[in-house]
């Protein structure tokens, strides 16, 4: 894109296999998009942490039917508008499993963002978050 061309408001979406080594890539993409939305490094860091946390839960912490089907992915969608909107989704039965030593990941997410909605519907778990930009 030539320098000076207005940036698109259209969002980005990526999908990864349920492989823990790919969560870092999702975090990096989330931080890059957040940086487009706001110059605040505090916000960028918050988005990076929240997206990484949600993605990690979906990759490894959600119990349920995990298949080898091509669409068994964790999907991330980010849109920049009046706010920065982030959603992640994956196939699951909605139950979060974690060891007795682990911290409730939804609790950490709730502490990271004021706007968090977790839904379980039709075999899909979805996390929606947004930040003022």
């Amino acid at each position: 894109m030539p320098v000076g061309t207005p940036r698109t408001q259209a969002g980005i979406s990526i999908a990864i296999a349920r492989d823990p080594s790919l969560v870092r890539t999702v975090r990096l993409v989330a931080a890059a998009v957040a940086r487009r939305a706001s110059p605040s490094e505090d916000l960028v860091e918050e988005v990076r942490l929240a997206v990484g946390e949600a993605c990690a839960v979906m990759v490894s912490g959600l119990s349920g039917v995990v298949t080898e089907a091509p669409d068994d992915k964790v999907k991330l969608q980010m849109d920049i508008g009046e706010r920065l909107y982030v959603s992640l989704s994956c196939a699951s039965d909605g139950a979060v499993s974690y060891s007795t030593d682990a911290i409730d990941p939804w609790a950490l997410l709730r502490g990271l963002t004021d706007d968090l909605v977790v839904t379980n519907r039709d075999g899909q778990t979805a996390v929606a978050m947004s930040w003022a930009v």
């Binding site: 870092r24 989330a30 940086r35 839960v57 682990a102 950490l108 502490g111």
Partner: protein, 136 residues
Amino acid sequence: MLFVRSGTLCGTEEELGEEAMVDLSLDTRHENGHTIIEVSGEIDVYTAPKLRDRISELVADGNYHLIIDLERVDFLDSTGLGVLVGGLKKLRAHDGSMQLICTQDRLLKIFRITQLAKVFAIHESQADALAANGAN
């Protein structure tokens, strides 16, 4: 192919080479009856098992007083917190201790949100941690 680091497009994957792929490194040393683990990189769902294994090995070898230096940690999620909590439980079973070194606001915030700031002894430096635990 462009590669992204800390949210910034910064070069090709080939240019970054190994550095781009290194997620977590652990340097361990012994000092005044304590074992210090200096952690660098990102502690997440992928790398946390490496830290968990190191702590387990140290405990199995009879090292019950650990100081974990998080000053060079760029990222910590609930999986990493779980590893620290699990390690603390193991050490306490041997009347041991775990102390953390952390001054980064972004990490301290995570400890506060999860109320683990009340569980862990968090110090500003290795010297402070050694002094607090009565090292001589």
